[in-house]
Symmetry: C2
Subunit: 499 residues, 2 copies
């Protein structure tokens, strides 16, 4: 079919520009010398402009209209559906705006890094204000159907709005806050195992240990890499070349381990996409929420269990023969310790979603309400103190901790919570299909879990919408119940709480 072939070739070109952006973004985080910052910002803006130019080509619009009236197979239909959405959005944005937004984002990364290092919000304030200003402009270009923040939420998980998230978060809060209170009570009367402060775990040992875990999860190192960066992330750069990063803290091997399990979860999704559909939506991950379900599944449902430590402990002692003799349960307790900490990425599964909710509330107020950038740190600290009962001592541990805003990614955080919910729902369905998951984990052969995820999540790419994908995989529409049941059961057991 000539029209579809023409369409496909245009779609692939658009995605090639995205992949080039992705590769240079990866390089910027992992390798680039500081002197390259200015020209990197320039070339990223140029690529964003080129991508936009191709995405908004009138010929693409004509082809879309033509194809929408034709008989297409499921894969073709998915590509037309997804490109229609992208096209309709993109044509509302002027190319100059797309370019200058990309440039400002690239520069903002540097400003944020410096402000965070100095733990001084005032150093980031002006940049954040321009980012928010440009985002407001973007919202206006795109057109507001309900609230301004909804426009942003929809960008990161299609179809999700404040009307969906507000009750969802309220429901989570309703059960997580009492759970947290019970745990805090219980902690007063127990001594939890922790890592002795004087112990050191050399980086090279952590690297080998974590690589072994990643391989066991199914990551193919002949088609990918693991590197170090300040902020662990994963990037499915090219077909056959998926990369993720971690970080090393010689006092805390758990930090690296769970970063690796998390990022490998993302990376397995990327490695599992269909290469035959490369450079098209059909061959790409369907959403951030589903992506996060893959990382959280491996990090938490697999990695934060005693069964995991049955397998991991011998590998751990291979690298750290001088570490104290811990058993699987002790390791698991250390790995799941609930703590009212300041940092989201270090949070346990009980408090994690509360961290997300703070960002969601702040963003909602910034875009829908009255909150100004000036007031942001104070609003953050007040909310944190109310919810967690502890005072944020400095911006580094508060509103400066996350990279997202510097990337202009407003509306992104709630997808983390969706990922947690999807992961728990997938675990339930996997259990129905494969039987006891702990037994599979402790057997050390984790292939059956990956094999279950591959055809149900990874290989389907963007064939259907995120919620349809979860429903197809689990037999139920997405719901928070499995997560709440899972987290309550897990932590009640860990902390010996009564039902």
């Amino acid at each position: 079919m000539q029209a579809y072939d023409d369409f496909l070739s245009r779609v692939q070109d658009i995605h090639r520009y995205s992949s080039l952006q992705g590769h240079l973004g990866w390089d910027q985080e992992v390798l680039m010398p500081s002197g390259g910052g200015e020209s990197r910002g320039e070339i990223l803006a140029w690529l964003a402009g080129k991508r936009h130019e191709h995405l908004t080509a009138p010929e693409l619009g004509v082809l879309l209209t033509e194809l929408e009236s034709q008989e297409l197979d499921a894969d073709q239909g998915a590509n037309v559906r997804e490109m229609r959405r992208a096209y309709d959005q993109a044509v509302k944005l002027p190319k100059e705006f797309v370019e200058s937004f990309a440039k400002v984002r690239s520069e903002a990364l540097v400003a944020w890094q410096e402000a965070r290092a100095a733990s001084d919000f005032s150093m980031f304030k002006d940049t954040l204000e321009s980012l928010i200003g440009m985002t407001r402009t973007k919202i206006n270009y795109l057109g507001i159907s309900s609230t301004p923040y909804d426009v942003l939420l929809d960008e990161y998980e299609v179809g999700m709005t404040v009307a969906d998230y507000d009750p969802l978060f309220a429901g989570l809060k309703e059960r997580l806050v009492p759970l947290l209170q019970s745990i805090t009570e219980a902690q007063k009367n127990m001594e939890e195992p922790i890592l002795p402060e004087t112990l050191r775990f050399p980086t090279s040992g952590q690297e080998r240990f974590c690589e072994e875990i990643s391989i066991r999860m199914g990551f193919d190192f002949s088609a990918g890499r693991m590197d170090a960066s300040t902020h662990p992330f994963s990037a499915g750069l090219w077909p056959g070349d998926t990369r993720f990063t971690t970080r090393f803290d010689e006092q805390d091997p758990f930090s690296c381990l769970y970063a690796v399990m998390h990022e490998t979860g993302h990376a397995l999704y990327e490695q599992g996409l269909e290469h035959s559909h490369r450079y098209t939506p059909r061959g790409a991950a369907v959403s951030l929420g589903v992506h996060e379900s893959q990382s959280r599944f491996w990090e938490n449902q697999v990695g934060r269990t005693a069964a995991f430590w049955d397998v991991a402990l011998p590998l751990f002692y291979n690298e750290f023969p001088d570490a104290p003799e811990w058993d699987s349960n002790t390791m698991n307790q250390i790995a799941n310790r609930v703590e009212k900490g300041f940092i989201r990425v270090e949070a346990d599964e009980v408090t994690y979603n509360l961290h997300v909710m703070i960002r969601y509330e702040i963003e909602k107020q910034l875009f829908n309400g009255e909150l100004t950038v000036e007031e942001l740190p104070n609003a953050w600290n007040t909310m944190f103190s109310e919810w967690f009962g502890i005072e944020v001592p400095e911006d580094r541990l508060g509103c400066l901790q996350d990279i997202h805003w510097s990337m202009g990614a407003f509306g992104y955080f709630p997808t983390y919570t969706l990922g947690n919910l999807y992961a728990a729902q997938l675990l339930d369905a996997m259990k129905d299909a494969l039987g006891d998951i702990d037994s599979i984990i402790s057997s050390g052969d984790w292939g059956p879990m990956l094999d279950w995820l591959r055809p149900r999540i990874h290989e389907r790419g963007s064939q259907v919408t995120p919620s349809q994908l979860i429903e197809d995989a689990t037999g139920k529409a997405p719901t928070p119940e499995p997560f709440l049941d899972y987290v309550e059961k897990k932590y009640r057991t860990l902390y010996g709480l009564n039902d």
Copy 2:
């Protein structure tokens, strides 16, 4: 001027595609997992096609014609001159040909690596045949004015032909072969210092030592990187981001050191280009020959002297305290030992150009004469045995040693010899301006040498032709005399030969 601005914007786009190719090429050599090979070949071909599309745009042709009749300043004139040449060549090549040639080259790299590892030319033969076939097709597209090989030579150093190289190489051979004979004679009656075979120089120490040397040469690590790769190379990827690579051999710290000095020489050229002329010929290196003059100047004229070792020895012993107590002269003798070896990149300054000539003769016969790919290894080995008096034991040490052919780079090698000649001529001119160079080197402050090169070579980019650039810098048209005088004087002294 509107026409020039339009032209400039098009020129910059063309160069942005080249830079993207360069970045992905760097990544392919340094980081890419093997599984990424196929898609890397595909995207490199796509970029080559895009670049070609922009370079051959009829609008560019119209602008060139318009600008050629206008008053332009020197920088603008240089850009128009260089782009005219590139445009006139490119329009002769179909886009499909450019894309498929790029793809074949990327695949050939893998075939060559495997053949070289197995030391088996037959594994590379078919690939080489297609590369040569495609190169012949390219020559036909471009059109032959003199000999087919001239078309290739001109690509790597504008204006150079067989009629220039044949007498040049004959002249070099005439004086280098007797010099080599005298040295070989002298070697029979002396014991040359060598590295004890049992000594080991840990990689981490080599890395620190070489980084210090590179910094001292003037390399700005805040605007660049040093990495490891099988084949050391340098790449001026982006304004403010120049990268080079080296390799490590724990038995031989000289291999890493001189690779670093060589590649830093290239990298200093890239770092010295004018950022204000980024993405234009005016802001780019003028030729491979001039590029090589920069690498060879630092590697040989600076690095392979006793004066250099006066400075380097204390740094060396910082990292390798257990090495025997050598003095500067001994180190210099080890670094300059003349050896009839098989490997070009390890060759001393006397035999180096003979290595280049073998490749030149082979290529000339392949494209102008009767030599077939089938006969290549035999022709190589016969010629090597005649010129060096030693038998090539395996292809790895013979015709498979260099990466160039796998990159489709035929006609490239002679620029290495040009680099050697230019470097010696620059040394003479620098001596006239700065006085005794050995004193500058042994002072440890090498800034005056870089400061001399910056405005005369680096900052001028492609303002004038390569030979004009050398003439402007040295007061003389390029000639082999300074090199021959330099190499004869240096090695006669080292080996105690009479004049």
